[in-house]
Amino acid sequence: MAEMLIKKFVVTRFDPDQDDVPRTETYEVPCHPDWKVLDGLNHIKDEIDPTLAHRWSCRMAVCGSCGMNVNGEPTLTCKKAVRDLPDTIEVTPLSNFPVVRDLVVELEGFMDKLKSVKPWIIRAKEKAVEEGPTRQSPEELEEFKQFSMCINCMLCYAACPVVANEPEFIGPAAIALGHRYSIDSRDEGAAERNEIFRGEGTVFSCSYANECSEVCPKNVDPAAAVNQAKFNAVIDWATGLVLPRGGKE
């Protein structure tokens, strides 16, 4: 058995039934060198303090449940190795979100924002299954594929300075997903979404801090998506001035 690493986990605790404000609790955790931060939290939950609340499931960086701030950095805890961290590991709930309990944050706000960008294929007439699959070239796929990789882990929201100050801001992941559909060759809803993107609290709220892309664990590059969406929204508005709207679907 490999030598254990002793790490001090400093964890935010908040129980609305008992605490007025969040507090911290410290746990000494003997960590296997291969452990991720999540393994340490699960050890606390199973062996030290079963009242700790945190979300997790796949432990392979794809379900997006276990995002937290680790030593101040928005992190997927199942992906971050404890051996790459100092002896003290500070785990706090994702910033910019209301905290439900301990390390669990309120996600309903995101669900509202995601829905508002219409993240689904919009077509003037729905294609019948009998018509078979649409043809889409590998190049057309490549144009939007990166933005479809978002796992909704919320790290980008926790890093974004605009989200911190502007509650209406739809935010990186939701805009990236709306944009992903707009630039999909099978979609006809770009005009509709551009209309949304020209509204209050959307793409033009972004000041291009690029932090969302820095913390994204899946290299989605939401900052690129948001700023491409700005570009498209403007082009669409300008062509709308010159050409009559009726010419487009």
């Binding site: 910019n96 209301p98 944050v105 309903e108 911190a164 100050n165 690029n210 700005k230 570009f231």
Partner: protein, 145 residues
């Protein structure tokens, strides 16, 4: 740590239980990568001052030759020189940062046209920038016109 906007990421329908207020990103505004972003924002102040300076300089044109000469002479004051160096650094900083982030902000296609690859865009930006700098420098030095 400081609080974020109290309604940051709040749902449209109030949550069913009491929540603790959202916190700002702990490293914001001066820690880690945020420092570059914050400095980027603060360069706006330098451009504001620079703007006033240009206005003031133009204004002195109406106050006769002596005022103009005094204004030009004041540019050799160490404070002005320091300010100009700061302005230069901030312009380079903003330019480099903006250029770095510009290519990926191009949508994959604009109508039927595809933007050139990122290195080409970057090359074009730098060419225009350096070209313009050289051109203005030459004009100001009296090399042309």
């Amino acid at each position: 740590m400081a609080n974020a906007h109290p309604h940051a990421m709040a749902p449209a329908k109030p949550g069913k239980t009491r929540t603790a207020p959202p916190q700002r990103p702990p490293k914001f505004p001066t820690g880690g990568r945020y420092l570059a972003y914050t400095l980027f924002d603060w360069t706006g102040l330098i451009y504001l001052l620079l703007g006033f300076l240009v206005l003031k300089t133009i204004w002195t044109l109406g106050d006769g030759q002596a005022a103009w000469d005094a204004q030009i002479a004041s540019f050799s004051h160490p404070a002005y020189i320091a300010f100009h160096i700061l302005s230069f650094i901030s312009v380079v900083f903003v330019g480099v940062r903006f250029f770095r982030l510009f290519p990926k902000a191009q949508p994959p296609r604009i109508g039927p046209a595809k933007p050139p690859p990122a290195p080409v865009i970057l090359g074009m930006l730098y060419t225009v920038w350096i070209g313009a700098t050289v051109l203005f420098g030459a004009i100001l030095a009296g090399g042309i016109f």
